[in-house]
């Protein structure tokens, strides 16, 4: 048999579900104190996420997409990026966004039905949340192309889900990244479900990582619940990108521990046993175990930190709750750089109706 091409896709895992190191950490792994700092961010993220769900349940937030279970993946992605890089997230990657400076009140404003949530006060050049699945992947490829054309040493990182990996935009982004050798990293967050559709129904591909082969990209599958594996996988991809070697596709194996959104009821389609089993692979627990083993973490420290998280989150929630609804005429703001006359007329009509003509 003559072989036209052959491929191998590596799987990365260092810290197993029980918090045991199952492989030698690479030399590039961050020192324990940095790992500790990231672990604290994971706890912070989880604290925020739980409060956001609670806000929705009490009618103070619109539909919200929780990130419970995705903490290692999201924090690992965010931690590997530089400020000048650009992130094109889906609607769920708060962890990566927080590390890039997005404020909790902005997340809440967005899901609270206020446009200003997307006007990130930091992370000014990051892409906004993208609701139409995977369209952000092509925007990231476009950003990467801009970086390449302008000779800027920046990388565009984008995330989509296992469902999003079926979307034609994701394929297009992978193809473009390969065709132009772009500084582009496609993160596929495989959390097992796309609302009610399991990963197995999305595609016949054995891995989602191999979708990168379609565009000739570097492909990698990593344990997305293992912060070390996430950091190493991202490091490799970012370095390749910065070195001009082109794009990567990384599949992060994680799990959606929550319903899809607060508008969803996963019990309709998902076995509780599966969720229970998934909890045994929780990214937070295993890292806590490991840090504990290193003498870097214990119950007391956790209690203190969780209290601090609660305090910090509450400040942001209060800021969100204190944010007044905008006057309706803002629906005309930023429609165009210069509003055409007939739009100005409609704006005037709205003001008249509001008794503020």
């Amino acid at each position: 048999m003559r072989v036209a091409a052959s491929f191998e896709i590596e799987y990365l895992q260092y810290l197993d579900a029980d918090g045991r190191m199952v492989a030698d950490l690479p030399a590039t792994a961050p020192p324990p104190d940095e790992v500790l700092a990231l672990f604290k961010q994971m706890l912070f993220l989880r604290a925020f996420d739980g409060k956001a769900v609670a806000l929705q349940r009490t009618g103070k937030l619109g539909t919200y997409a929780p990130c419970l279970g995705h903490e290692a993946t999201q924090i690992g992605i965010g931690a590997t990026m530089r400020p000048e890089d650009v992130l094109a997230p889906s609607y769920r990657e708060y962890g990566a966004q927080i590390l890039r400076g997005v404020r909790l009140r902005e997340i809440l404003m967005y899901w609270g039905g206020d446009e200003r949530g997307n006007d990130f006060q930091n992370a000014r050049h990051d892409f906004p949340w993208a609701v139409p699945i995977a369209t952000q992947c092509l925007h990231a490829a476009g950003a990467a192309l801009a970086f390449k054309l302008r000779g800027e040493p920046r990388v565009a990182v984008t995330c989509c889900g296992d469902g999003g990996s079926s979307k034609t935009d994701t394929y297009a982004a992978i193809n473009a990244a390969g065709a132009y050798t772009l500084p582009f990293v496609q993160c596929i967050i495989n959390n097992g479900w796309a609302i009610s559709v399991p990963r197995s129904a999305q595609t016949g591909a054995q891995t989602l990582a191999q979708k990168g082969l379609a565009g000739g990209l570097h492909c990698l599958q990593v344990d997305g619940n293992d912060l070390f594996a996430v950091l190493e996988g991202m490091r490799r991809a970012m370095e390749r990108a910065r070195a001009g070697e082109g794009g990567s596709v990384i599949e992060f194996m994680t799990y959606r521990l929550h319903d899809h959104t607060t508008a969803d009821d996963a019990r309709r389609y998902r076995d509780e046993a599966e969720v229970k089993e998934a909890w045994t692979r929780d990214p937070v627990t295993r890292l806590r175990t490991w840090l504990g083993g290193q003498g870097l973490w214990d119950e007391a420290r956790e209690k203190d930190w969780l209290a601090e998280c609660a305090r910090l989150v509450d400040i942001e929630i209060d800021a969100y709750l204190d944010t007044k609804t905008q006057p309706p005429e803002v629906m005309f703001d930023y429609l165009y750089a210069d509003l055409p006359p007939d739009i100005l007329e409609q704006r005037a009509q709205l003001l008249a109706l509001e008794g503020r003509a």
Binding site: G62, G113, V131, G164, R268, Q326, M331, Q346, L350
Partner: protein
Amino acid sequence: MKTAVDRSKIDPADAPAGKAITLIEAVTQALAWEMRHDDSVVVLGEDVGVNGGVFRATAGLQQQFGPMRVLDTPLDETTIAGLTVGMAAMGMKPVAEAQFDGFIYPMLDHIICHAARFRYRTRGRLTCPMVLRVPWGGGIRAPEHHSEANEAMFTNVPGLRVVLPSSPARAYGLLLAAIREPDPVIYFEPKRIYRQYKELVPDDGEALPLDVCYVLRDGSDVTLVTWGAQVKETLEAAERLAEEGISAEVIDVATLKPLDFATIAESVAKTGRCVIVHEAPRTAGFGAEIAARLAEHSMYDLVAPVERVTGYDTHMPLFRLEMKYMPSVDKVVAAAKRTVANS
């Protein structure tokens, strides 16, 4: 020309056995009826299977008809549209669901270039008997892209039919007709009124014609023309106008393409005034076509300028402000009064 039997006017006493159901239950009922009676009907879309659709329009159908009749698709609208065209060309009758109105754009290529053209292109050799169901419009406090009124873009495309029911009975009868129709039908469902009220909808498999407007209220001073969720506000406006001595006729367009302009023209010939109400942005919304036909055919009947009460020419704002964007009873009443004052 077919004539419209307004099933919402059936006297419950005369009707075959049936039960009072919501608009979305009427959708489910129609799907189930047609699947029972026609093996070639299959339902496909994201989460339509076990989950029964995010709005529950297909609830129970996979359990009833099995996974070979009710198919979850991979998460890609291009895929859904392309598969649907291919299946239809091979003689099936696929009913595809777009999960939300804001996600239909990747479907347009297959709808416009292929679904709308297969019969024409092949001189009748291959056809495309498909339905695309689209939960439509705002007002449910949903996230971005979940509240779009984008029906107008389909109305300039030859070969399509565009339907937008506004009551449980019309939802049932028009969906049956859409599935039985040998050509592609875009079937918008006003999601804001999915569960607004119940009415008796006998599950008798009776379809409604696909090219007939419904006169929901007779009047003599002004014709209010609308469709979809705005039927509610428009009927309320008519009520308010009546209190002020203005008699408003209310027409639910229901089938936008082909348009039953005759019914509208007849009404305007009587009233001399017309207010068109729709949720989509004003400029080049489908209201423009109705106003244009009035300008062509009803010029001598009109005693006052046509008015359009529509969404503004901006994006549907996030949910805090969405109701400020949309036509309201107040806006319709004001416009109708202007037509009376201006004549």
